[in-house]
């Protein structure tokens, strides 16, 4: 049995705390926040760049890191300013963020969810990072996004293409600039119809994990709407290195199109194997056999070599675009590093600038203020045309590129050619179709 003692002073204290708590929701507006995780107190602010520095995507991670270093330079007023000169928002002045010099720490995701969470946690708890960004995998993005939500910091996703990142696993503190599987399917379908017709039989090989499933689903839905038939969809282990036993039966199935829902090393090997088996030289159902790679990456295309020639896919951005934002970024990156940036580098650079700009516009580093500033934010001049950060799911909506492996590349970077710039309206979808709850922002502390 317990005994409860009520005192006047205790009631007043409790009432004051409860009152403050109830008043909090109306108090959460930009610039008004004080207590939040890792609130910068000195003359600097620390950002956390969580990229794969080891493991199979280390080269992609290295390019992301180059882009972040360039973004930090530009934010601090060094270099030529890059896309800050073409960005439609003029809040960034080149004097850091809110007058604080930008510093950064890096973590190694190793493209493993647990390692990525550990490195993000360390950057938040030990280094005082106020924002975490980067990554080259959807599994990592979803895991780190959830951690940032719990910790009360903003997560600006790097390269992550699964619908789930801003679908069923979306979080209020997380934002994605990169496009997703749905958009790839929607952008590719009309080009496939125009080039290969409406009467095709497709055979899918799909990496056996979250991103593979959403990509398969997106491409199946889009192509079946064209009138294509899906003959089979076979899951391949993520650890598979030789795909011959999966590719050999494709011709026997009567399919005349092979869709490779693979990324990274899986994509390089499955495409190489498919070309080795001579699939592209075959005539099936009276039509040329075709291969499709829904998500292209220039770094991965380089691994597949000349096998990518003539193969359609989609990409978030490509250095050969001719808008002012792209030209400024490519010039800045190319001058510093001697080669053009990858799409991973582009999305990371843009995310760093978008975060900094949101803080400037909000007048606070408080995650909830940043969320408010980014939700529904429309901008231009960042390489993808007019773009919207949709409030409902924190997904960017912008033009998507359909690309094709170039027949006569002039250099090792010139592997893809842009076939079509699909307008944002064509790849926009209802935010509710992928489920999930955004929840409310968490400022932490």
């Amino acid at each position: 049995m317990s005994k409860t003692t009520l005192t006047r002073r205790g009631v007043l204290k409790t009432g004051a705390v409860a009152g403050a708590g109830l008043a909090l929701p109306t108090y959460l507006s930009a610039a008004g926040h004080e207590g939040f995780t890792n609130a910068p107190t000195g003359s600097t602010v620390t950002l956390g760049f969580n990229v794969p520095q080891s493991g199979p995507y280390a080269d992609e991670g290295a390019d992301e890191l180059r882009a972040y270093e360039l973004a930090v330079e530009h934010l601090n007023g060094e270099g030529d300013g890059g896309m800050m000169n073409t960005f439609s928002s003029k809040a960034l002045q080149g004097n850091g963020i809110l007058g604080k010099k930008v510093e950064y720490v890096t973590g190694d995701t190793q493209t493993k969810s647990d390692a990525a969470r550990a490195s993000a946690k360390s950057m938040i708890e030990k280094d005082g990072a106020v924002m975490i960004t980067g990554g080259s995998s959807s599994g990592v993005a979803v895991a780190v996004q959830a951690l940032c939500q719990e910790a009360g910091v903003i997560f600006m996703a790097g390269l992550t293409h699964s619908n789930d990142t801003t679908g069923k696993d979306k979080k209020a503190n997380g934002f994605r600039h990169f496009f997703n599987s749905y958009m790839s399917g929607a952008a590719l379908a009309p080009i496939l119809a125009a080039n290969y017709g409406n009467d095709r039989k497709a055979y899918h090989l799909t990496a056996d994990y979250n991103w593979g499933y959403t990509t398969e689903e997106a491409v199946k839905t889009s192509t079946e709407a064209l009138g294509w038939e899906t003959v089979a969809a076979v899951r391949t282990p993520l650890t598979q290195t030789d795909f011959s036993s999966y590719i050999a039966p494709v011709l026997q199935s009567g399919a005349d199109v092979l869709v490779l829902n693979h990324y990274g090393g899986n994509m390089v090997n499955s495409l190489t194997n498919a070309v080795q088996f001579g699939l592209r030289d075959k005539l099936v159902n009276g039509k040329n056999f075709e291969i499709i790679v829904p998500l292209y990456s220039r770094l991965m295309a380089r691994g597949a070599g000349e096998n990518v020639k003539g193969i359609f896919g989609s990409t978030n951005w490509h250095w050969s675009l001719q808008d002012e934002g792209t030209k400024a970024f490519v010039k800045s990156f190319g001058t510093k590093y001697g080669f053009p940036p990858s799409q991973a580098a582009h999305t990371c650079y843009v995310q760093a600038l978008l975060y900094a700009d949101a803080v400037e516009r909000a007048g606070s580093f408080n995650p909830c203020a940043v969320v408010e500033a980014l939700e529904g934010f429309e901008f231009d001049g960042m390489g993808n045309g007019p773009t919207l950060y949709r409030a409902e799911d924190h997904q960017c909506f912008k033009d998507v590129l359909v690309v094709k492996g170039k027949e006569n590349p002039t250099s090792e970077f010139d592997l893809l050619e842009i076939v079509e710039v699909t307008p944002a309206a064509q790849v926009t979808y209802d935010a509710s179709i992928f489920g999930g709850e955004l929840g409310t922002c968490n400022p932490g502390a």
Binding site: S54, A248, V268
Partner: protein, 343 residues
């Protein structure tokens, strides 16, 4: 029937790689008693010998292309290989085209040297240590080697194609009376299978028909007695380590056109190759070869759509499942000898 033939063919080339790696592993285990977890790294180093030779052949100087610009708007520069300058464009291109087969000659001395250095420099100090220590040190060595390769060559796969003459595939089905396009097989995989058969045959012949091989076999059976006869068996075993490294390296050289090599390709093969050795029987050379091909073929069958539909996930576990069944029914593996790794 055509699907069965197709998967047997696929399994043979996959099995060729397993068999070649497992053969080297067994040679080392049988002679030196060392469980060498760095053997996959030797396969990877062999593959990178091919990449290195290809890069050497492609060493170039830049020539401006008139009227074209690069991504920064500067005049476009095209790489012209020095081999074109030395031998003319046609011959130079042909040499570059044949870089993978030529890498066999390049890789043999390098791999033997790597093997001998590895054995003399590190592994010999662990002969009398427990197998657990050997596994730890060789596994650590494998990680060091792959990180060195990653540092110099990057993490991405590097395309290193087969000569043009071996690109594409042939219709094996049509040759044996099946309908067109039912059994397609790439030329290079056939080359790989034949190459593996020749190497395996050569290793067996070397051990069976040479005096050196006879001494090594005698040493494998009873090291002490051979030593008492005044034969320096350690020196011969060191050479066998170099030979095993060369076998793994050659398997790697010829594998690069099948899948572009990357720094962790050795690890991808290592675990499976150990399963192959255990299934074949520790220390048994014919067992390693037979198990390599058997598991390669079974893995191919398990990845058939019809089989996956029947038993979901079977493609991911088939090798381990078969290993469990074989070890339960034949604890020493298919051709294992009594007394090997037994107290």
């Amino acid at each position: 029937m055509d699907a069965i033939i197709l998967q047997i063919l696929n399994g043979l080339d996959k099995g060729s790689a397993y068999a070649l790696i497992a053969l080297g592993l067994t040679l080392i285990f049988g002679t030196l008693g060392v469980v060498n977890f760095a053997h996959g790294a030797l396969f990877m180093i062999g593959a990178f010998c091919a990449v290195t030779l290809s890069r050497l052949f492609n060493l170039s100087h830049e020539v401006e292309v008139p009227g074209q610009t690069d991504f920064l708007g500067n005049p476009l520069k095209k790489d012209v290989p020095y081999l074109h300058d030395i031998f003319g464009e046609a011959t130079g291109s042909a040499i570059i085209d044949w870089s993978v087969p030529l890498a066999i000659l390049f890789a043999i001395p390098i791999m033997i040297a790597v093997g001998v250095i590895m054995e003399r420099g590190l592994i010999k100090y662990f002969y009398k240590r427990p197998h657990a220590d050997q596994i730890l040190v060789t596994f650590g060595l494998a990680i060091v080697l792959q990180e060195i390769i990653k540092y110099y060559y990057g993490a991405n796969p590097i395309p290193t194609p087969a000569p043009d003459a071996f690109k594409g595939s042939f219709d094996f089905g049509a040759m044996i009376g099946f309908a067109e396009n039912t059994i397609i097989y790439p030329y290079w995989r056939l080359v790989y299978f034949c190459f593996a058969a020749v190497i395996i045959g050569a290793v067996f012949a070397f051990l069976q028909f040479t005096t050196f091989g006879m001494v090594v076999r005698a040493g494998m059976a009873d090291r002490e007695t051979v030593g008492l006869l005044g034969i320096n068996i350690d020196k011969r075993f060191t050479i066998m380590f170099g030979l095993a490294a060369a076998v793994a390296g050659l398997a790697g050289v010829m594998y690069v056109p099948i899948n572009p090599p990357n720094y962790h390709m050795g690890m991808d093969f290592l675990v499976l190759s150990f399963v192959v050795v255990v299934v074949g029987g520790m220390g048994s050379l014919p067992g390693a070869v037979a198990a390599g091909f058997l598991l390669g073929v079974l893995e191919s069958f398990a990845s058939m759509r019809e089989v996956i539909d029947l038993i979901p996930g079977i493609n991911q576990v088939i090798i381990y499942l078969v290993a469990i069944i074989i070890l339960l029914t034949r604890p020493r593996g298919l051709m294992g000898r009594k007394g090997v790794m037994e107290d």
